[in-house]
């Protein structure tokens, strides 16, 4: 038998979308030694409310939340293996990077950044794969 799949219960819910109730996703799923975290947008972790702002402020909010989520799941920012960052505009890359660098001061994870159309007017989405 191979590794076990486990949805990590987190004190968080994805923000509601146009589709009605919350999105059909788990914030984090563990499989074996790896933890897969859904693409996060800037929300208040307690209320689930959106925190729309600048690319910098959304990045800060997302990574603050990510740190909390990883800690709650038995992982941490320094165990992140790979990050994907989606930006509403690549012109904002520097604004994201300045904030991002503070969360990963040494030996940052592998990362891809790409510009894409994002849902519901969000400016940044960050997802990651981490070790547990």
């Amino acid at each position: 038998m191979s590794a076990k799949r486990e949805v990590i219960p987190l004190p968080v819910r994805a923000p509601d979308t146009a589709s009605g109730s919350g999105q059909p996703l788990s914030m984090a799923v563990r499989g074996g030694d790896f933890l897969f975290v859904s693409g996060l947008t800037a929300i208040d972790l307690r209320s689930g409310e959106r925190m729309q702002g600048t690319t910098a402020s959304e990045t800060r909010q997302i990574l603050t939340n990510l740190k909390q989520l990883l800690d709650a799941a038995g992982s941490s920012l320094d165990k992140v293996v790979k990050v994907n960052v989606l930006l509403h505009s690549m012109l904002e890359e520097r604004n994201m990077n300045e904030v991002y660098a503070r969360f990963f001061p040494d030996q940052p994870p592998a990362r891809t950044v790409c510009g894409a159309r994002l849902p519901d007017g969000v400016k940044v989405i960050v997802e990651c794969t981490a070790l547990v």
Binding site: S2, A3, K4, R5, V7, T17, A18, S19, G20, Q23, P24, L25, S26, M27, A28, V29, R30, G31, G32, F34, F36, V37, S38, G39, N84, L86, C114, A116, R117, L118, P119, D120, I125, E127, T129
Partner: protein, 135 residues
């Protein structure tokens, strides 16, 4: 780590769904490595004909996820063992409609997911990839 992980290509039981081979693209439908399966981005292909299936977005998402189920089951895994999904839409305004169909395939404890929109090839309305645990 001294243990060497086994790496092998995944093939769908239905050869019409081997889109990368049928379109002569330089990738395989998926790779199994150790306990994990990594699938290539899957697009709407009619499992009866192997042709592109370009109906309404709901139908495109349904056929793509149904083919993904087939791909995973061909490899001894299943939708229930999916860990993370990437959903890419050609049109961001299709997000709600995609979610509606997506729920049918992942009714409980859905995988982690990221969804966004960017340009897709061949006029496809969606492309979906996943990482799953092997069977």
């Amino acid at each position: 780590m001294t243990e060497k992980l086994q790496r092998s290509a995944i093939e769908p039981k239905n050869p019409l769904l081997n889109a990368s081979r049928n379109s002569n693209l330089p990738h395989v439908p998926g790779i199994r490595i150790g306990d994990y399966i990594f699938l290539s981005g899957m697009v709407p292909v009619d499992p009866q004909t192997g042709e592109r299936s370009h109906g309404p977005i709901a139908e495109q998402v349904r056929v793509t996820l149904s083919n993904m189920r087939h791909m995973l089951e061909s490899a001894g895994s299943s939708l229930e063992r999916v860990l993370r999904v990437h959903v890419v839409l050609a049109d961001i305004s299709h997000m709600a409609e995609m979610d509606r169909v997506y729920r049918e395939f992942f009714p409980v404890d859905p995988p982690a997911r990221t969804a966004w929109s960017m340009q897709l090839r061949f006029g496809n309305g969606c492309e979906i990839e996943c990482v799953a645990l092997a069977g």
